[in-house]
């Protein structure tokens, strides 16, 4: 009686979700209490509601750090889940929104939107979504849709990414100087935008998380073979289409808010697969929670490291993720 005694999937799901939620809560508290101004102890006391609250600190914690933590969590969750979905559907552990050029495409769309004077919603969100879809179709076309051909997929992505970079630079150099500064900083991955908009992003991507989670088991079946999945009752074309579209939407929305933050979607799913296995019913919620915690920590690091002005979080995620990518590529070649 091996199996019947072993944990059914929902028990594993509950324990993993619970554990990672605690992790997220912990990093959120860290994100709220650590910062350049005010001492940590006072912030802790504020969070716990002990003693007299300092009005300035209260503003810093709730109105400056709070929205930033929420933004970091949302963006991290979306990017990590986006990476997981792309890796599964393209059957390539190195696929990631940033590496495939999907983020770059969204950025081109978003910059065109900024130059056209669109507002954040719906104009900018839409133009960036269109940009991401354009790149996705191009990458799928370039890779010839052959499941085994992983090198051509990455190469296609790298080329599309380089092309997007050139367009971005071109657009920046023809735009007005005032806009230029803003765009460049945003491009490098910027979580400093503060406002209620951050909650709007969270509301926008939450349904995407849910939709992807609902398709977890069909996705599992799909990964063991398209034909047998179809014979077992999975509508393969519909599941693939919905997942690609949802993941692109998620990524393009986060790019609108926080620019280009790379490698989160590579780092987190990779680590989670090593620890949790291949079942996407577990991996999807785990990616969301861990991705959120990870980006809060990266942002904390970017804020705390000594720098001129402020370091962007994209630098930190790339410093961690790019070596991992090279490592994986090297190991895959052997």
């Amino acid at each position: 009686m091996r199996i019947a005694g072993c944990n059914p999937v929902y028990k594993k799901l509950i324990s993993v979700t619970l554990l990672l939620s605690l992790l997220l809560l912990g990093t959120m508290v860290l994100g709220l209490t650590i910062g350049s101004s005010g001492d940590i102890g006072a912030a802790w006391r504020l969070l716990l509601g002990w003693g007299e609250a300092d009005a300035t600190l209260e503003v810093i914690v709730w109105q400056l750090r709070g929205p930033r933590v929420i933004l970091a969590a949302t963006v991290g969750a979306a990017l990590s889940l986006g990476g997981l979905v792309f890796q599964a559907l393209l059957r390539n552990p190195l696929a990631e929104p940033y590496i495939l050029g999907i983020s770059g495409g969204s950025a081109v769309g978003a910059i065109l939107g900024i130059l056209a004077g669109f507002s954040l919603f719906p104009g900018l969100a839409l133009s960036s979504f269109v940009g991401s879809l354009a790149v996705l179709s191009l990458v799928l076309l370039l890779s010839g849709r052959k499941e085994s051909n992983s090198d051509s997929l990455l190469l296609g992505g790298v080329m599309v990414n380089a092309f997007c970079g050139a367009i971005i630079m071109f657009l920046i150099s023809v735009s007005k100087t005032a806009q230029m500064q803003k765009i460049i900083f945003w491009l490098m991955g910027d979580l400093s935008s503060v406002g209620v908009d951050n909650l709007a992003l969270l509301l926008g991507v939450l349904p995407c998380f849910l939709l992807i989670f609902l398709l977890a088991q069909p996705l599992n079946l799909l990964l063991t073979g398209r034909e047998s999945a179809s014979a077992m009752g999975v509508n393969v074309a519909a599941v693939t289409f919905v997942l690609l579209l949802t993941a692109s939407l998620m990524v393009s929305l986060t790019v609108c808010f926080s620019g280009l933050i790379g490698f989160v979607g590579l780092t987190i799913p990779h680590v989670l697969r090593l620890v949790l296995g291949s079942d996407h019913r577990i991996l999807i919620p785990a990616s969301v929670l861990t991705g959120a915690s990870y980006l809060i920590l990266c942002d904390l690091l970017a804020r705390s490291l000594p720098s001129q002005g402020e370091m962007s979080v994209g630098i930190v995620t790339a410093l961690v993720g790019a070596p991992l990518f090279i490592c994986l590529l090297w190991r895959g070649r052997r």
Binding site: I3, T224, A231, G233, G277
Partner: protein
């Protein structure tokens, strides 16, 4: 009334006609094997039976109902497809893989309960894969992997198993193990087996009836003794094949005859 009735079915790959006007019935509880030379359209026909290939002409009835009238999940509760290989890029554990067979029986979230775990366990005991439960797909040998795919199909609790060359690339011991498993499934669980095979001797030993396909058309349907004659096989396969009797099983035995020997002894092609 047959379980599966194929009438006048033609299938195409793009412009190319693969199957032409095939009519055949599969009875409940039967061991039915489809044989024929390479490119005869065996696998395509099997996929059409699983509802995975659009029909250019004709109709397929399953339990007196048109295949196209079933929803995918309904069909999956009647027919289970056993593909030749399973993709192991994503190394699910054996237990996870077998449990996937429950998908057509589950609701939206596809969360398995105690009953599903029990069925998976039975399927794994039956296929002797229970000791592999926690192993990952990419750590298994070819024979083990094939048994896991079959366990998943058993876990699907369908009436019919559609198998695509399950013994290809296996050594004789593993081939026999798979075929004996099929035979037991048929006797103990009254499951209908439809199998594509290249191995004429395995087909002869286990099948109730054979369908011999050539160039997309039916050459012959019948018992091994009716279909596996030297004349018929040599003509269909375009080479000299000697058929005698397996002294232990009393079934036709097919042997290859090299071209040189065939010319010398004057056996007709």
């Amino acid at each position: 009334m047959s379980l599966i009735e194929v009438s006048g079915v033609s299938l195409r790959h793009g412009d190319r006609s693969v199957i032409r006007h095939v009519s055949v019935q599969v009875e409940r509880g039967e061991f039915f094997v489809i044989i024929g030379p390479n490119g005869a359209g065996k696998t395509t026909l099997l996929k059409a039976l699983a509802g995975l290939h659009p029909l250019a002409e004709g109709s397929i009835l399953v339990r007196q109902r048109l295949l196209s009238r079933y929803s995918r999940k309904e069909l999956a509760r009647i027919l289970a497809l056993v593909p030749q290989q399973i993709n192991a890029d994503f190394p699910f554990t054996v237990a996870e893989t077998v449990l996937m067979g429950r998908y057509p029986h589950l609701g939206w979230l596809a969360v398995e309960g105690e009953k599903d775990l029990r069925l998976a366990e039975q399927a794994m005991q039956f296929t002797e894969t229970i000791h592999l439960a926690d192993r990952r797909l990419n750590q298994l040998s070819g024979g083990e992997r094939q048994r896991v795919i079959i366990a998943r199909a058993i876990c699907q609790q369908s009436e019919v198993l559609l198998l695509d060359e399950p013994t290809a690339s296996l050594d004789p011991a593993h081939q026999l193990r798979i075929m004996d498993l099929m035979e037991r499934l048929r006797h103990e669980a009254q499951i209908t087996i439809v199998m594509v095979s290249h191995d004429l001797n395995l087909a002869s030993s286990y099948a109730d009836r054979l369908l011999l396909l050539k160039d997309g058309e039916v050459e012959k349907v019948g018992t091994p003794r009716q279909v596996l004659t030297g004349e018929q096989l040599s003509q269909s396969y375009g080479c000299t094949l000697l058929v005698d009797e397996n002294p232990l099983m009393g079934k036709p035995r097919v042997s290859l005859v090299s071209a040189k020997v065939a010319t010398n002894t004057g056996i007709p092609r």
